[in-house]
Subunit: 348 residues, 2 copies
Amino acid sequence: MNNTFLKACRGEKTKYTPIWIMRQAGRYLPQYQKVRGKVDFLTLCKTPELAAEVTIQPIDILKVDAAILFSDILIPVEAMGMKLEFFEKRGPVLSPAVRDENTVKKLSVPDPEDRMRFVMDTIRLLRKELKNRAPLIGFSGAPFTTATYMIEGGTSKNFLNTKRMLFQSPELYRSLMDKVTDTVTEYLKAQIKAGAQAVQLFDTWAGVFSPPDYKEYALPYVIQVIKELKKWQESEKLNVPVIYFVGETAGLLEEIKKSGADVYGIDWRINLDSAIKRIGKNAVVQGNLDPISLFLPHDKIEQRVKDILQRASSAKGHVFNLGHGILPETPPESAIALVELVHKLSKS
Amino acid sequence: MNNTFLKACRGEKTKYTPIWIMRQAGRYLPQYQKVRGKVDFLTLCKTPELAAEVTIQPIDILKVDAAILFSDILIPVEAMGMKLEFFEKRGPVLSPAVRDENTVKKLSVPDPEDRMRFVMDTIRLLRKELKNRAPLIGFSGAPFTTATYMIEGGTSKNFLNTKRMLFQSPELYRSLMDKVTDTVTEYLKAQIKAGAQAVQLFDTWAGVFSPPDYKEYALPYVIQVIKELKKWQESEKLNVPVIYFVGETAGLLEEIKKSGADVYGIDWRINLDSAIKRIGKNAVVQGNLDPISLFLPHDKIEQRVKDILQRASSAKGHVFNLGHGILPETPPESAIALVELVHKLSKS
């Protein structure tokens, strides 16, 4: 079995630096487009055979060291009781937007095997189909990032409604976050039970906070999820690493390191060695090539890979990744070249 | 004359902490809306009497310690020869987008007193009308931020076209940046000649870079503008402070401090004391309240102001500001309260 990724997550020595790519299954691959052409996005997420097929594509095409479940971070929100729709240009729309007590009350903490069974079925199918080719990463939005979509009713620029709620109605915010945090925790437990061998919490939007606000309004819920996952894993004799990715980490690292995660996902807007210095050298880090680097000529990509590998050398462990999701316009050959380069350059 | 702002910019002791607010003249003020209701946005920018009127409004209404010229950062781009239009929802559109040598060649480095005379006329009028009530800040987009609009043809999410150009066609990028840098330099000189008593360079989008890319593709042009302004000011026996604001500073401070600016504008995503530690205690800083804090109840705004004043105490000088532009939805009373609080709390 290719367990290089899992060993790196646990801070064990590996023969080379493992790599996977955020959003590696998706729009930039013609093979994905072919599957997606047959069904709409949500149907793709909810059909285990198809979701498993696109999850495996990057293992075959890119030779990455881990597969990540193809799904959407809004799946648990729909399971909590909100209406979820995707529109081609506008992105996801959730309704009704959560802005008062009454709407929060109507939300449930769903049983994942009931309301999101298709996700666990996808994971079970994937473990069979992947065999030992690569470990499988499960994921969820972190509580704050998940809540922003619920409060805004979709994506947002300034997160005005979200911040307004947590500033002006802290109790309402807390009651929503309690439900979201429990949902995320149970969802990840179910993914691990179904066979996920690592899980990533995506806190894509937590970077919109000042450090004190992050500490008060986002971090405690992440700590709660990770603590509960660790406690539960101990009782189940499991040891599944938790990766915590924040969209803009540079100002928040001193707080982020309190989350209790096994691996810290770092975005590209900070030098990896500076990040390691601030999180602590005992940390395992994941990252952090600027996704747009994949539009460079290959010799320039090579320079950047070398630079990141060198900067990562002070950490206890390193999983190579982009600093954010791969862009739809990326040439697949560049993603293939990146994986080859990381493997080749980290061996020597 | 209220010269508290200028003294703070120069690192001199002041009786209280001066404050101005990015985008202080604008959409959140009903008094602005009234003027704006009569003309379209570009006409407002280009009519000295009206531009001066809305520039002065926040001095009267908010009692801020500096006025900032009401204008748009795309004015010099239009003067360089691009077609500029504003659409209600979509924002600014510049055409044709600059993506090849031919389009770059057609751009000129305009004589500001010829092509942007209305800006200098506004400044001259403002100096008369402001008398000694408050100093006047002029401004320009920094070269990289200005160039992104030209390359993207407007605003952007990922700056894919911009990064693609600088990665794939570095010489084309450089030839564009040479023209933009000269335009920005001459534009700021003209503003100073007309009467601007401080100038701010807005590098709103430079935070999308990794530190090495920022150092290579954005910083050199900022250094060039500031160096030329300083040299010219020396020969003219002028001493107009230059403020340099970057949209997301947290990962870039070690590079930003090489810009040669007199004052560093810091966004809200980093604690001000951490920023000061990294720029150096000899720095004068400007910032950095999260704009959304103005939706808090007043006692909470007070806490945040206290916190920022305390964190700023290690710097050589501090100009209070938000960490980004004030939001259109902001209640004007909160902006008024903020100015009062900063004045009151920094006196004691």
